[in-house]
Amino acid sequence: MAAAATSAELLNPLMARIAAGERDALRQLYDATSAKLFGVCLRILSDREESEDVLQDVYVTIWRRADRFDAGKASVMTWVSTIARNRAIDRLRARGPMAYAEQVDELEIADGQDSAETLLSAADDRNRLQGCLSELDDRTEKVIRTAFFEGVTYEALAKRMDAPLGTVKSWIRRGLAKLKGCLQS
């Protein structure tokens, strides 16, 4: 976990400096995290221009809310990625309830891909979630992953999976309950 420790050592102090109004610290955070966050936005929106727009919002938000970052609760990378994902989903919703991005690939998640960014997060958390997701039945795993990576609504998922809304909803709810149980055990 040397990589994760280094990253926390590098990024945590930046948050305090950003909260204190240091633009240079935000710039450093941008350099360390923007490619990852742009990847997150692009994954959900599949549109470079919109993704860049959202990315700008994300860093302005980080600038304003850095004082709310709590190192005891989340890593910097998780915190900023979550903001990016939420903003991208908000943008997707603005396109309408059935909107989803046309994904180039059909959901094959590059698990083995170890980019520098991958190393920034705790690998054991990832493996744990990975393990618990793979214990779900294939359909449930797929629908939860699709929901997460594409940020689409129940409605859009139901249409895509050609299943009734209520059914998709219960797959996901049951899947999430199992996931929680597995992660706690």
Binding site: G21, S115, L176
Partner: protein
């Protein structure tokens, strides 16, 4: 995997919000609920944490050239300073300015403003009919924090533009400041503070905003709370009592 017990309705909603499957309206409701229900907010956070490791598998892609410069241009001015990043201190000074100018009563500017404000400072009225609009507005939230040595949140507020509602929750113990009331103010642009009404200690309140204030509910505007005699500030154009907290509205 053994059968897991079903999630409670409350937690299922938190998990769905974290996963991101709610539609625009439900999402807005969930965000509002997070602002007024700390237990729900904690559940959403816990679910975000559980799911976050999935983000690891998303490949990093360099952002377009020039993005940083565009971000830098959007950073609020005056933020390069030693003191806190949010400009709460500055806002507080502005509220105090209004208070002082109102109380002094000698300043020509203040007098002119009093005249201008008789119309403008109507208390928020309750809309009886909800207008259905496309849920596309940007939700805003604010945490009104004390300006003493110990910074602590006193009120939290969430604004839902689709419903034209501001939900304010007092985090102060019920019954505190017994012979005083807490009055909520909106500070937008260079306008004088607009009263949004009184908020009881320990209670949450839904405030339906009058149309003329909707445009002012924007990222960067701020909320302030003052301590006033029963019935609220006697001054038409701002707080008459001490301002106990301020907080900026920012996009959720």
């Amino acid at each position: 995997m053994s059968e897991a017990p079903d999630l409670t309705e409350h937690e299922a909603l938190a998990a769905e919000h974290a996963l991101g499957v709610l539609d625009a309206r439900e999402r807005a409701d969930a965000e509002n609920r997070m602002a007024r229900d700390p237990a729900f907010a904690a559940d959403v956070e816990a679910w975000r944490q559980r799911l976050a490791p999935m983000l690891d598998s998303i490949a990093a892609i360099p952002a377009p050239q020039g993005t940083w410069q565009r971000i830098e241009r959007r950073l609020p001015a005056n933020d390069d300073r030693v003191a806190p990043a949010n400009d709460n201190g500055q806002l507080l000074n502005r509220v105090r300015f209004w208070r002082n100018s109102a109380m002094g009563g000698f300043s020509a500017a203040a007098a002119a403003l009093v005249a201008a404000l008789v119309v403008g400072n109507q208390p928020a009225t309750i809309l009886t009919k909800e207008v259905t609009v496309q849920p596309q507005g940007q939700l805003l939230s604010a945490s009104v924090v004390s300006q003493d040595t110990r910074v602590q949140p006193l009120f939290v507020a969430a604004y839902d533009p689709d419903r034209k509602q501001l939900i304010v929750t007092s985090l102060l113990p019920e019954g505190s400041d017994r012979d005083k009331v807490h009055e909520l103010w909106l500070i937008a642009g260079q306008d004088n503070p607009k009263s949004l009404g009184l908020v009881e200690s320990g209670k949450a309140k839904v405030i339906a905003l009058p149309t003329e204030l909707l445009a002012k509910m924007a990222d960067g505007a701020a909320l302030a709370v003052s301590l006033e005699p029963p019935g609220g500030s006697k001054n038409p154009d701002g707080p008459s009592g001490p301002v106990i907290g301020v907080g900026k509205l920012s996009k959720l």
